[in-house]
Each structure stands twice: as C-alpha cells, then as structure tokens.
C-alpha cells in the first residue's frame, strides 16, 4: 500500500466512524455475500483440477483446461447448448411480453372491481410452489388425466405428453407463463401509474382514440421498465430454472429438456464428476455474463436505458 492511498484510508476510516450505525446495519448483508457468494468461489478452482475427495480442493492436481475440452468434445455439448438457449428464447419470445400485454389490457379496464378480480386471479398461481405446479402437470397430463379425458371425448387419441420430447418446451414455457404472468404484470402496472395523465388529455384533444393513446403514450411510458427487465432477463438467460426442469423431465425427454444446469446436477451430484461439472458450470456462467454485458451495451446504444 502506497503513501497516497494511506491517506485515502484515513478518510474512509473517518467516514466509517461518522456513519457507524449505517455501516453496522449493512454488515449482515455484506457478511452474507462474502460467506455465501464470494467464499464458495474458492472452490471454483476444481474446474481446472482433477478433484478427488481424498486430496481435497487444495491438494488435488492441476489439469488445466482438460475438463473444458472434454465438455466441448462431448456428444451432448451441442444438445445442451441448444436446449438451454431454445428454452430461454421461447421464454423470451412468449413469456416476456405476456405480463406486459396483461398489464396493458388491465389498464384499459374501466370497472375497478372487475380489474381487481382479474388481477388477483392471475397472480395467485405465483404463490404455488414449483413442486406443486409440476405435480399438477403430471396429474393433468397423465394418460388417464383430465387433459386426455377431455381430448379423447373429442376423438383425440390419448398420449403421455410429459414423455414426448416435442411437447416439453411448450409445456415448460406455457406453465411458466400461467404461473408468473399476473405477478410479472404488477411492476408494469406500477410503471403505468407514473405516466402523466395530462399526456392522455392532450392526446384526446388531438383526437387520438384508445388504441392510439396506448401506442403513443402508454407503451413509451413503460419502455424504460421493459428494457431494464429485459437486460436482467438476458443475464439470467443461461440459468433457466433447473428445479422445474429436474422435476418435469425424464430420460425420454432429455432430448429437448436437458439443459446445462440439469446436466451439471446429474453428472456432478449423482455421478460424482465434481471437477468436470464445475468446469461446465463455470462455462455456463461465463456465457451468461457475456450475454448480460452484450445486452447492456446494445441497449445503451439503441436507447438511453442501461444497467450501468
């Protein structure tokens, strides 16, 4: 530490003294991140080591990029990338706009009572645990489940949807929309209340109908919120909810359902290839980070909104 930075620390020290209660309150949060988020990163090194439980993290031999290369050459590499991206792209295309559309529709409702009821009903599923949601899916979609019974009365042959790979993405994304659409719309509804009502009055004077008002005032009004949420969404592109996939998939649907995070779980915990899966997970995180940076810089360029 040099002299000049020493004096810097003195100012920091003074600041600490002055606001010590504030810092004290921040302490648990900081400790949380250090212990649970940064501490475990120490273990990341096993991605470039040949970890064996007996030698421990520190003493396992270095192997460099061996595990990464093995993963890139793996038969399943492209399938995992494809599935991870496709499920996310589908969620982005269908899942992301759904709460926006719902919010816009709710905004057009005049009867407050009706609006409340719709809102309550649409965001209730958010509070159901994923385990229960998948349980419902399994029950409804079983060969003798309600869906097949309704369809067979219409003359459609029963099938077990959860064991057919071609249905997986649809079921995953649509059940996700059903569960989250109401909850997701809350933030947009909040953004809507921020729009200056005089804008609407001015538009009305200019002869704009409901449709024109929505296109030219409402939508641009919530655009900053949309973009921030979009960027955040891009950051979590590679980390799809593996819990739900783990609950929903089976060997029959691996073809379309197996994503990087579920692969990591299977190989890592069930087959004890710790180093290999750490490498895979790290690779996943790197891609996710690049996607986040990329979308942020794109957004910076095309609009004024950005995360940093």
């Amino acid at each position: 530490m040099s002299r000049s930075s020493n004096s810097r620390w003195i100012t920091v020290g003074r600041d600490l003294k002055r606001n010590k209660l504030l810092y004290l309150m921040a302490l648990p949060v900081i400790a949380y991140y250090l212990i649970f988020d940064y501490g475990p990163m120490y273990g990341l090194q096993i991605a470039v080591k040949d970890y064996s439980p007996g030698d421990g993290i520190w003493n396992s031999p270095w192997v460099g990029f061996h595990h990464f290369i093995e993963f890139f050459n793996s038969y399943y590499f492209w399938r995992l990338i494809r599935n991870t991206l496709l499920i996310n792209v589908y969620e982005l295309i269908f899942g992301f706009p759904a709460p926006i559309i719902l919010a816009l529709l709710l905004n057009e409702l005049r009867r407050q009572v009706f609006k409340r009821i719709v809102q309550t009903i649409t965001y209730l599923p958010h509070f159901i645990s994923v385990v229960v949601v998948v349980g419902m899916l399994v029950d409804f979609l079983a060969r003798d489940g309600v869906v097949n019974q309704v369809l067979s009365s219409l003359g459609v042959a029963p099938r077990s949807y959860l064991s057919e790979p071609e249905w997986f993405r649809f079921l995953y994304v649509s059940s996700g929309i059903w569960q989250q659409v109401g909850w997701g719309s809350i933030i947009y509804l909040a953004a809507l209340t921020n729009i200056d009502p005089t804008l609407y009055e001015a538009a009305k004077v200019d002869g704009a109908g409901r449709w024109k008002q929505m296109i030219h005032i409402t939508v641009p009004g919530i655009m900053p919120t949309v973009i921030i949420l979009l960027i955040l969404k891009m950051g979590s592109m590679m980390s799809v909810g593996s819990e739900k996939i783990l609950l929903m998939y089976n060997p029959l649907t691996y073809d379309t359902a197996d994503v990087i995070s579920t692969f990591v779980y299977r190989k890592g915990i069930l087959e004890a290839s710790y180093s290999y899966t750490t490498a895979v997970g790290l690779f996943n995180a790197v891609i996710a980070l690049s996607l986040l940076i990329l979308s942020n810089s794109v957004s910076k360029r095309v609009s004024e909104t950005k995360l940093w």
């Binding site: 020290g13 520190w58 060969r143 691996y254 915990i269 290839s273």
Partner: protein, 536 residues
C-alpha cells in the same frame, strides 16, 4: 490468501472488515489434514458409541424411523454395550447424499454402501484415505469373518479387489438358493381362462400376449388389460426378454472374451420384437415411465398380465394384498423365454454371493477401528448370524424342532406386508454386513408359487455373466467418462427404438455413435479387469 493484508485492515478498527477475516479464515481452513487419526487409535479405549451411515431400506422406512429401532440393533446394543447413532440419507436420495457426505472431512465411523458405486471403485476409496484397508484388521480383530472367508475361497475372491484389499464387512448370501429372486411372473388364472399353456418361446409369448389383449379378462367391459410391462430398470437387471437373444444390457463374456451387449446384432433382434409389441399394444405404452408404485397399482388393480418381479416383495406381497379382492388371482413364475424351442437359457437375474460391493466400511475418521471391527465381526459369529437373520428368540422367532421359525407377528402381520414386518426385526430380507441364512428365505417364500419361482428362475446357466470385476483406479476415470456418455445415449435410444421414434434402420448409425464414444476402450478395460479377476 491475503491474510496479512486482512489483518492490517482489521487492526484499523473497521468493524465491517472484521467479517472479511472471518470469511478468509473459513476458506483457508479447507485443505484437509491427511494423516487423520491413524495414530490416535493405538490405545483403544472401550468403544461406547459409533456413528453409522447407511441407507434406510424402504421396508424399514415403512414403519420405523431408524435402524436403531429394529430388534436386531436393540439387542446388539444390549450384547455389546455399544450405542449406534444411525445416519440415514432420505429414501430415494442415497446416491447423491453419499457423494456429498464422502467429500467431507469428518466421516461417520462406519459407512455401509455399495462400494462399487464410489467414483473410481472401492480401491480408490482406500487410496483417497476415505476408508481403511481392512486386511490386517480382519486378521487380528475379526476372527469370525476371517474364518468364513478362509472357508469359502470363492467368496474371498469376490470381496477382495484386484490389488488384494478388503474394504468392508461384506453382505454375503450364504447359499446358492438365495442368489435368484427375480424374474418374469404372470397371471396363471388368466392363462387358464383362455386355455393357454405356459409360453416358452418368443412366438408363444407373442400369441399369448395377443390373446390377452383381445379378451376382457378382468371383466370390466373396458379394454384396459396390459399384457406385458417391463420397465426400463428391469431390462438392465434380470434381462427378461433381452436375455433370450443371448446378450444383456451391459458387458458380458463369451468364453472369457468381453463383449458389450447393446451394440450386438442380437440386441437389434430384441429391439425389433419389442418395437412390434409396443406398436401392437402388447407392451405397456408407459413402460418407460412406470415406477414401482405405478406397477403395484397395475398389478393390484387387476390390469396386468405379466411383468418382472421378485419372489418376496413381488409374488408374495401381491398375492397377500389382493387375496380378498380378486377371486382366483394367481401369480406364478414363468420360465425365461427362448427364441427357438430347445435353446439353452443363458440369462437369469442371478447375483453373486457378494454383489454390488455392499459392505460396511470403517472410515478413516474412526478413532477406534479395532474395536469397531470387533463389533462388526459379531454379526459373523454363530449368535450374530442368528440375530441378524432371525432376531431375538421369543420375540421374532421360536425354535421349533431345531428350526428357527418366525413368529406369527411376522408371517401374518396386521396392516403391513410380510416384508415390512420382517424388516422391523431383522435385516435378512434386504441386506447388511452379515451372512444371509437360507432358512429365512424358506419361510419368506412360503407360498408354493414362491418356492417354484426360485426353482424356475434358477434354470439359466448364466455362463455369460461377468463376475464382479473392478477397473483399477487409473482406468476407472477413463472408464467412467466413456460410460457416462454411452449409458445416457443407450438408454435414450433404447426407448426411441422401441417406441418407434427412431426407425430400426438407424441401428447401424447408433452402433457407430457408441463406437465413437470409445466403447472399444471400455471393453478393453473390462477385459483386463476380467483377466485380473480370474487370476485373483
């Protein structure tokens, strides 16, 4: 580690930074100390408590929370004065819990597990300093087990690794009678109703299953009869129909040469038959996703004609469960089918006296391995054998003309099955570190159909079965990485071929893919392991 830096900062008195040293301290303490406890055990104190990690058998879990509540362990504590704290992973998560537990530093004193499932095999577990090599300890402190192994060189060969290590107190099936307990069983009463005889060949089966499909045998007016259910798990195990074609779902040997089943032409013939049966509705369309609960529902719901099951929890359980609900219900074992009448039956579900590496190992965290070994050795003594197989005289069995006869509480239990009732007292009907006694099975398989089933399922010669070989720890990581890919792929394609999602014309392409994953190398590793085994 920036420890010196941290210290300076915290000396500045910033309370925020104190937590940094805590975190840094946490992580820097992670490298394990290698020379754990080896020397401390020299003056063995009297053993008072033990921690014991073992999967909770589902039959026990049905009525008890822990092995500690079982008669056998209550009595064992009385006899030896050692209190055991059992650690049970949640039922169904044994494998992941084991993998997580074994990476830790402080292991339970005793770990009972199928050690061939340890990444790299049992020998690797010893090299990793997770469990102890027991050869010397057994020589000195386990006279009963030593006597048994010396008297049965074949068993000794099975419990020893290629390097000559014994890694645990083994579960040994004490009689050939106990080696077969699984096979195809079918509804004899349905056969009789249609005046059909027991199917012998694949063609017979085809005709029989078709006849079942077309008759409303449960009489409910709906075509809901399922002629055949073999779920994926059973395909790999007792090789129900696959074995008829002379191959299995894994490695096997023909005259000492190792081959891999799923890429053989015979395997394609098998897939062709299954694909046909699937298309015609003879094979349960849900075969790939049926678990044991669903299977139970189908058998007891009077829907299923034939499936794979075991003597005890299958034929025995089902028969007693539906006794009052389905008149005439009769499950009997079917002989393993052959392709052409008169063919030699090559595959059954026979296991080895010591299979899967199920053994109680002493971990390196154990402070008192000698005393622990003595405690474990008790099970291999004459009294210990009685205790583990039959429990306590007067409680779970009575001596009738010199024959240990289970009490009525076990053989005719209320509100539970025989398997569950037995598991409240003894470990005979699942496994454990002791020698299984034939006399338990003679009672467990009390029905004539059960006794017959063991005879019928014992027919095949099993000459192509691979003995319990183990790759060396060097080979094992290569072997594991090849087989990880191959197994996932083969399981997926298995379903696709049968369900017709992948035309059978692509079988050659499938074989090429498996070859490109390195199956040749894996076969070589197994070949070398087999040769080492034969030379043990």
């Amino acid at each position: 580690m920036m420890k010196a830096g941290w210290k300076k900062w915290s000396a500045a008195g910033a309370s925020v930074l104190l937590s940094l040293t805590v975190a840094a301290g946490c992580s820097s303490s992670s490298p394990p100390k290698q020379e754990a406890n080896q020397k401390e055990g020299q003056e063995p104190a009297k053993l008072q408590t033990l921690t014991y990690w073992v999967a909770l058998s589902s039959n026990v879990a049905a009525t008890l929370k822990s092995f500690g509540d079982m008669t056998v362990y209550k009595e064992l504590e009385k006899q030896t004065g050692v209190h055991v704290n059992f650690q049970h992973p949640p039922v169904g998560q044994e494998k992941d819990q084991f993998n997580l537990m074994i990476t830790g530093k402080d292991l339970p004193d005793v770990i009972e597990y199928g050690w061939t499932g340890y990444p790299g095999g049992p020998e690797k577990a010893i090299k990793d300093k997770k469990i102890m090599k027991l050869n010397d300890i057994i020589d000195k402190d386990a006279p009963n087990l030593k006597k048994i192994l010396d008297a049965n060189p074949d068993w000794k060969k099975q419990v020893t690794t290629d390097e000559g290590s014994i890694y645990g107190f083994p579960f040994l099936r004490g009689d050939d009678y106990l080696l077969v307990s699984k096979g195809i069983a079918l509804r004899k009463d349905w056969l009789d109703k249609l005046h059909l005889k027991m199917p012998e060949t694949i063609d017979d089966w085809n005709k029989t299953l078709t006849a079942i499909k077309n008759s409303d045998l449960n009489g409910n007016g709906k075509p809901d009869e399922i002629p055949l259910l073999i779920n994926v798990g059973d395909m790999g195990g007792p090789v129900a129909f696959l074995g008829s074609f002379g191959v299995n779902y894994d490695f096997y040997q023909v005259d000492g040469k190792v081959k891999y089943g799923p890429i053989q032409p015979e395997y394609k013939q098998f897939l062709t038959v299954m694909n046909k049966w699937y298309k015609e509705g003879l094979l349960d369309p849900d075969f790939a996703v049926t678990d044991s609960k669903l299977k139970d529902a189908k058998v007891t719901g009077n829907q299923l004609f034939a499936t794979v099951m075991s003597t005890g929890s299958g034929i025995g359980n089902y028969t007693s469960l539906v006794k009052n609900n389905i008149p005439g219900f009769k499950l009997v074992a079917a002989p393993f089918p052959v392709v052409n009448a008169g063919d030699k039956k090559l595959w059954s579900a026979r296991t080895y006296n010591f299979s899967g590496g199920v053994a109680a190992a002493i971990s390196t965290s154990n402070k008192n391995p000698e005393a622990t070994a003595k405690w474990l050795d008790y099970a291999y003594s004459d009294e210990g054998k009685m205790l583990f197989n039959f429990g306590v005289e007067g409680v779970s069995y009575n001596m009738v003309n010199g024959y240990p006869t289970f009490t009525d509480d076990i053989m005719n239990p209320k509100d539970m099955s025989v398997a569950q009732a037995m598991a409240r007292h003894v470990r005979a009907n699942f496994n454990g570190p002791f020698v299984e006694d034939k006399r338990y099975m003679e009672q467990y398989a009390a029905l004539p159909e059960q006794k017959d089933s063991i005879k019928i399922w014992s027919e095949p010669s099993d000459e192509r079965k691979l003995p319990p070989v183990t790759p060396t720890s060097d080979e094992s990581s290569q072997f594991a990485s090849i087989m990880n890919d191959v197994n996932t792929y083969k399981d997926e394609m298995f379903n696709k071929f049968i369900m017709g999602a992948e035309p059978l014309d692509n079988f050659d392409k499938y074989v090429k893919t498996i070859e490109s994953m390195g199956i040749e190398d894996a076969v070589k590793i197994e070949q070398a392991a087999l040769e080492r085994y034969n030379n043990r």
